[in-house]
Homo-oligomer: 471 residues x 2
Amino acid sequence: MALYKELAQRLRDHIQHDFYKQGDKLPSVRQLAQEHSVSISTVQEAYRQLEQDRLVEAKPKSGYFVCRTEGGSLPSISRPPQRPLEVSQWEEVLNMLMIRASQKGVQLQHAMPDMRAPTLKPLLKTLSDLSKHKPELGLGYSDIRGSEALRTQLCRLAVASGCQLHPDDLVITSGCQEAISVCLRAVTSPGDIVAIESPSFYGSMQAIKAANLKAMEIPTHPETGMSIEALELALDQWPIKTIFVTPTCNNPMGYTMPDEKKEQLYKLAQAYDITIIEDDIYGDISYQFPRPRSIKSFDTDGRVLLCSSFSKSIAPGIRVGWIAPGRYRDRVTHIKYVSSSMCPVFPQLAIEKFIRLGGYNKHIRQMRHQYEPQRDHLLKAIKDYFPSNTRVSFPQGSFILWVELDNDIDTMKLIESCRKVGVGFAPGPLFSATGKYRNCFRLNFSEQNTHRREEAIKLLAKEIKAFSKAE
Amino acid sequence: MALYKELAQRLRDHIQHDFYKQGDKLPSVRQLAQEHSVSISTVQEAYRQLEQDRLVEAKPKSGYFVCRTEGGSLPSISRPPQRPLEVSQWEEVLNMLMIRASQKGVQLQHAMPDMRAPTLKPLLKTLSDLSKHKPELGLGYSDIRGSEALRTQLCRLAVASGCQLHPDDLVITSGCQEAISVCLRAVTSPGDIVAIESPSFYGSMQAIKAANLKAMEIPTHPETGMSIEALELALDQWPIKTIFVTPTCNNPMGYTMPDEKKEQLYKLAQAYDITIIEDDIYGDISYQFPRPRSIKSFDTDGRVLLCSSFSKSIAPGIRVGWIAPGRYRDRVTHIKYVSSSMCPVFPQLAIEKFIRLGGYNKHIRQMRHQYEPQRDHLLKAIKDYFPSNTRVSFPQGSFILWVELDNDIDTMKLIESCRKVGVGFAPGPLFSATGKYRNCFRLNFSEQNTHRREEAIKLLAKEIKAFSKAE
Ligand SMILES: Cc1ncc(COP(=O)(O)O)c(C=O)c1O
Ligand SMILES: Cc1ncc(COP(=O)(O)O)c(C=O)c1O
């Protein structure tokens, strides 16, 4: 056996015998090399293999750690129906959207970031200064592609995800929802089929429905995203027009598709000569630094339309999103104009300054550092209180995670009793085109009050157990 | 001859012999009754007849006036192609939209209100106070139908146009453009035909194009709007799915469809069991007080979808619009959510307070009083400087008017030379689905600086004359 394989096996044994526990830091490369009298590159190779096996993970500047998801606790890979279908579930989405955030209790259904962060202060100050001192700037019609100054700053930010963009390559939108809607309409015709991850964000599925398109749900791995093999099969069988993916800190599952797989996906789109709509809304709050590459960064022929917004990295109420539409710029500009004309100017100018003066990067660094331990705290609470057969996703960024309960549990029913005790979650069927994932739900962990959340988890656990018995 | 007819004839003679000139105040009802020894009701009947003939107009609380459009100077009734067609002209619209308002010279192409009015101050103050003192209010996701408090105030305003609405009957949008787009998508399927006025606002025509619909342009009278007879013919011949109209202070022509005709239009939609999308964006800045009724006010079965915004009455940059979707509320809510999710909260709250404390009504009263004499000033300038065969619309509200030049003049070419001398206008073809109205353009008269505008008109007149000679 090669030296590195031997070393990898030894480490694997240690992990499996709980010598190193989930989340523990592993010895440094240098340390192991000395201990085992092997070269640095042998240790690196061993760690690389364990990373591939998803037993360990590397954290930049901190070293290697035992993955917290080790064992069978991840949700299963999804098995959606193998054909294009109409999207349903609008009633359910509407019901959830109508529950006000102001409702009492602990509402964990929304995908809202923590908006009390002091690092947002400079942004809010600029906003108020603008409307006070330069009201006239916000009153007129302005560039339908959005503020050029903001587009310039967005190009600067895009470098972190591996993209070289020009301000003319961008169109500002009213949030990522408009970006998605516009892109779908720009690259499809009514009746076309869109390949999507399963589970998927309900907003994009409802946009598919409203554009008279069909959704082809593709089996999706809870750690690496859409299955490339399953996608290729689907592309062979159906005239799929575009691939819609959220590959970086996916909503609801939290995975980040590895770079190689992102590139494979892009190559596949090239081979079938179709487009990719990439939703990167959570990309900037990946826990990894520098943040993961986008699929857009592999795009050499303009077939990737990247959609994003500041709704998760700053606040959804600010309603500033954007599209990097590649070669579909003209059509995207047309549909954006038709969709809602130009966007309000003040939020754009305020964000522009926030980025320019470094406030944005400082803020997302802060958020990364806040959300990651909050994820771990929530994972622990779930492990402590939920039934032992519960499976949980292991988000690589963002502030939401996905829980898979026993097959018998219907979260659409569970939610009724939970509402009574004052705990909200986003039930699984919202994330399927056809009402699947009834035994799943999504939880938010953005708020700093981990104690409050733990109490909510206890209540939830009690309801789940009561529900299991009642069935 | 009946007494009232005799009296009407006498007044008609006086007007035609320039005894009373365009715009002159006519004797009061009481005065005429005394002079001619007839009853009050006879005089009223006579005036009613002259009003029908469009020789005189009543101004509430001020009496009767000679119509300023008396004579042959109105644009001709339009004669668009008699079949449904694809909308073109996007390139031309884009070119115009890309000309920044900041460009030097006098840019009369935009439909922007005067935003320097001191009556807007309280609104701007609230906006700045909100982002200063209650930033958290503007950050989260909120009701996708928009602020309930604002919807309540909108119901109060709607009473002036004859509508009884409930806050639940309204959906807030990102401006009127989104309202139009959403309504079109809510009541049609791809391939459907939409009847529209001709000329028509380019934004709604481009929305028709983007929704994969066809436009059926209906002959339109420059004083009373869409021809009911022509519409009925079209309805007989084609499977028209919805009627899109801007019947009150139309863009670009400025006419207001009389109440009887509004009702006829509604009855026709009932007879053919189709919907009406009514764009009321200029309704509140009609010069008439109380403002004219909307078609929506005749709606007994929920088939009228009213679209509007504060873009013309306050400022377009504020991006607050709304839909009163009648029985299509659920579909409209769905498509609005998909289109751009919820709208920013601060502008909604600021406008809510502006209306509630009376600032809005004060502001539009002010604007009415400002725009009407500015219209007359512009009409006079056109009469003084433009070729004598120029025809001009006579807006009943708003701050835009429509000019029809000699048939030989191509405004798409004229605009090039005008750009050089620093005068902008919106060329006619933008307002046709198929590039008609090449000899027409639209001018804005919202700014208070009438002198500056008069100078621009002189320059324009010079270019027009140079152009005529060159041809
Ligand atoms: C994956 C994803 N895309 C898009 C959106 C919509 O974002 P926005 O609020 O910017 O419209 C969301 C919001 O929840 C989301 O989670
Ligand atoms: C008739 C008409 N409808 C709709 C609009 C679009 O309005 P908003 O700026 O509110 O989207 C305009 C703007 O020019 C208009 O003139």
